[in-house]
Symmetry: C2
Subunit: 592 residues, 2 copies
């Protein structure tokens, strides 16, 4: 491709409403243009990247045995009524009426349509397993679309759906998709993690999210750099940080800690590290309580007296509500009110502790706290703490539970090293749906004994347009985007200095351009005759990973100037060696 | 691809509402499945054909220098209001409201969006010419969707839009697209014609339709098999069928022709061929008449006396209303009423003629009639005709005009042979839009002198999904579809007889399958273990163009059985020669 026959329109500044780097850079590079809120046109530059992603996704789906089809964007309401999602789905579901006043939706997802196809097409166990996929434009009417293609309203998805006879079949189909997803993100040149995830609203059990790692990601992920372990921080297992509890060394002592309601303050006053302190969190469990949306909001107690729980965490740790919610009997927990605390502990929050509490209080210690010795807790007396506290000697052994969020440096639950914490952008999701949709829509097959059984389904999504944004969030600098080769709009740009003026430069540029094309490299020759500063700024902003500069000065020495997009400095290369050098670099990038 | 890993689901019968062959066959072959009226899922088999069409379209668009982008399906109402089409477009425009009650449409076409992009991105004459295209799902809310993908509501289009500085630039861009369209339909292996067309509602001037020739087509096309000439029958030039008028031979004679109000009857009574008769059509032209939607409906005359026109056509010819409408002064013409005719001609219709009519009657003779001699007309007396009529001698020379529809055998207007008439299915359309949209939306650029000028636009559509139906209408038989190689879901099918039973058959089948794959052939191996009858019927219905049958009997002679989809009989081929034979046949099909 020659730049003169392409459409390049870079901008100095991004519109003010572009909040994050990928959105700003895609607009500035001219990859997308806004048509309406959350609705974009992919300009030729942006679409080249989209298509490269699609090719890789398609190849890996096919390799995994999935069959491509194409379902309609406009779906009849009847199918959504059958699945109950017509009422369950919120205003994100864009509904409309045709000229005959029949109701339709613009599909945000296709479980209903594919299940309708399956119930009509699949009659026998012999027709399974089968996995269908499509790459298609979808619509989700986000209340506040933002971040460009990262959370747009109209977006491009790859969605796949597997149909199996039973749970074992589903698990096999799921595993195949899981592996295909790994290959896809690897081939795309992205640093990513497959993260065990709780299921969202789709229902069913067993799911993983695929996250592209980026500082700007919405989700916190705990992972082990030495292994494949990864989980949302909320779901990651927190192991005890102390292997074996030490013998008591200190005497139980009450010390004055005026105005020290936080562990940090206590540690500072006593001149010890925060890791010797233990914080107390008091919960109230109302009898017959309903699950509340935000259970950590203190509330007045109900009619009957609530049960009081005391949670003990190390001073530097934080409570994990997801784990807390899974403790037996925790349904309907809430933070105890100050009145309840004073009634139970005889003092106000800030000086609470497990020693001398009423027997009715149930004490839970986090796994780490349970292994501590000579630790510090509140004295249940305002302005005082107890030091040298030891389990067994000074208070009974506690109920032990995993109560805290993991932190960087924690041992990995798989025993293979220490956890790191990073942020991620979800670009893929694999789900074991089970029979949620096949039962709702009556999608059954006849098993070997001729009995009708519901098909067992999985669903598997990749946000194609979202990958663009995520890849940029992971790969950019002050000058612009740094595309991984696999999805770069162009792999190489040739920047000739004095293209219009110098016959020598023009000939050399056209020569190496032709050679690179012949080698199958996706190269663009900047024949616009722009000044070097403009050319370099454009292509650095656009993020082409390899650049070859051709100048009269260099040609005198038979040399080109090569610079990788991440290189600090250019390198001189022999003219004749340049194509092979670039080819080798690109080949290396594609090896995975 | 192996059939066991694919999804094949053929039907014995098509649903009753499938009216035409392509719709029936696509359903029976399992290429599409209905989701709602005019809304289909492309099953894996159908999508393979779609994707092959898309690849060819994309290649030729790129070759013509067009740049691919992707505009959104959901478009804001504001753009349609700017172009006035929000009110002009009928109920085919699917309108909807988002959660904030803002109005949108699902785009049936993208003139507004692309013009919006152009006005924001193109500032200078230096940025043109440029042609953008996309391949995208569109929606048109047809009142009565029918014929499957031929007139669906949701459909796949390639639409392109060119932007030029002036009319000359537009004509160049138009020509490039015109040529690209020719290459596309040729490469697809379709018999087609580019037909000069009147513009439809889009407005502007200069347009061609591309028609796939098929007996079931909606449009009648006159074309010259010896040249590229083609036009809609309504627009085709009808040349005189007589080169030079003969000298009068016969005497003007009044003959009795009782009950002969039609030329056919007159010719029969007189024992002459229809080509000697001339029919009279009487029109009334009302003064200051408005153009009427159906002008050939007789109406009572208005306040003032209408002008009477007498049109003369050869007995076997038919009047062309489009041509009539273009005669100077024809605005507001209508068929004269019987009262008007009797008042003017003194007799009732059926026996009218140009001799002895009042001077106020304007006589128009079709080009052929004007060259006739010794012809027959009505005598303006009930039950009588005149024979031996000659121009100049018996009546004054007429005003000559092209008034008739062409018929098969007419000389081609380009002088290169005789016209044939066929029926066609419109699959493409190229338009010179001009400044219709750039003026409405204010899409201007600065010319070389720095003056703002409206961009001059062209638009170019191809109905990707419609091509599927059209290709089938052109290529099918009683057994099913006969795909052109270029868009066949598979190019070759290997049908092994006794695949599960016979190790020899299995080995041979897998061997030739591997060999064909290696040669880059798109081959499917039917490893389902079905009986030969089922296998053959399936693949003939699906329309795979080449078939290789492998049986134990053949293998004894080291032979396979080859049969092209159009071949009446199979041919025996040496096992070792089979791959090369098939490869050669497919290569030949792709040569264009």
């Amino acid at each position: 491709m020659k730049a003169s026959g392409f459409f390049i329109n870079t901008l100095k500044d991004a519109p003010a409403d572009a909040e994050i780097a990928s959105h700003q850079l895609m607009l500035r590079a001219g990859m997308i243009r806004r048509v309406a809120g959350g609705i974009y046109t992919y300009m030729p530059l942006g679409l080249r990247a989209v298509r490269k992603i699609e090719v890789i996704v398609r190849e890996e789906m096919n390799r995994a045995g999935a069959l491509e089809l194409l379902m309609p964007a406009v779906q009849p309401a009847e199918l959504w009524q059958e699945s109950q999602r017509w009422t369950q789905y919120g205003p994100e579901l864009l509904r409309l009426k045709d000229r005959h006043q029949r109701e339709f939706v613009i599909g945000p997802t296709h479980e209903e349509v594919i299940t309708d196809i399956a119930r009509k097409e699949i009659k026998s166990y012999r027709q399974m397993p089968v996995t269908f996929y499509q790459i298609q434009t979808k619509f989700r009417d986000e209340i506040r679309p933002r971040f460009g293609v990262m959370r747009g309203r109209e977006f491009i998805m790859k969605d796949a759906y597997s149909f199996d006879q039973d749970k074992a079949g589903l698990e096999h189909s799921y595993q195949q998709m899981y592996e295909a997803y790994g290959r896809i993100f690897k081939r795309l040149g992205l640093v990513f993690r497959a993260v065990a995830a709780d299921n969202g609203s789709i229902g069913g059990s067993g799911s993983h999210e695929f996250h592209v790692i980026a500082d700007t990601g919405e989700d916190a992920i705990a992972y082990c750099p030495a292994s494949d372990y990864a989980a949302n921080v909320e779901a990651a297992d927190a192991l005890p940080l102390i292997e074996q509890r030490g013998e008591p060394q200190a005497t139980l002592t009450k010390v004055a800690t005026p105005n020290a309601e936080k562990c940090e303050k206590v540690a500072a006053i006593l001149g010890v590290s925060l890791e010797h302190t233990v914080k107390s969190i008091v919960l109230a469990i109302d009898a017959n309580a309903e699950v509340d949306a935000s259970p950590l909001t203190p509330q007045g107690s109900g009619g009957s007296t609530p049960q009081i729980w005391l949670l003990l965490l190390r001073g530097d740790h934080t409570l994990n509500e997801v784990k807390l919610g899974k403790l037996p009997g925790a349904t309907g927990y809430r933070l105890a009110s100050e009145a309840e605390i004073i009634e139970c502990f005889g003092t106000r929050p800030g000086y609470l502790g497990p020693i001398g509490t009423p027997k009715s209080v149930k004490v839970f210690a986090d796994r780490t706290v349970a292994k501590m010795s000579d630790f510090i807790v509140g004295a249940n007396e305002a302005g005082f703490h107890l030091t040298g506290v030891n389990w067994g000697r000074d208070l009974p052994e506690p109920v032990v539970a995993d109560l805290r969020n993991v932190v960087a440096g924690d041992p990995s639950p798989d025993g293979k090293g220490a956890l790191a914490i990073c942020r991620g952008i979800e670009v893929g999701h694999v789900f074991q749906l089970g029979t949620r949709y096949s039962q709702a829509l009556g999608a059954t097959y006849l098993d070997e004994s001729g009995k009708a059984q519901p098909m067992v389904m999985g669903c598997y999504g990749i946000g194609i347009s979202r990958i663009l944004g995520a890849a940029i969030e992971q790969n950019f600098d002050a000058r612009g985007i740094i595309w991984p080769e696999a999805m770069a709009p162009f792999e190489v740009v040739i920047c000739p200095i004095g293209y219009e003026r110098s016959e020598t430069v023009r000939m050399a540029a056209q020569g190496v351009y032709a050679k690179l094309l012949e080698m199958g490299i996706d190269v663009i020759l900047d024949d616009r005759g722009e000044r070097p500063g403009v050319m370099f700024a454009d292509w650095e902003l656009i993020g082409v990973p390899h650049r070859l500069v051709i100048s009269e000065r260099g040609l005198k020495e038979s040399q080109f100037e090569y610079q990788g997009r991440r290189d600090a400095q250019p390198t001189l290369v022999e003219m004749t060696a340049a194509p092979e050098l670039i080819c080798a670099k690109i080949r290396a990038a594609f090896e995975y």
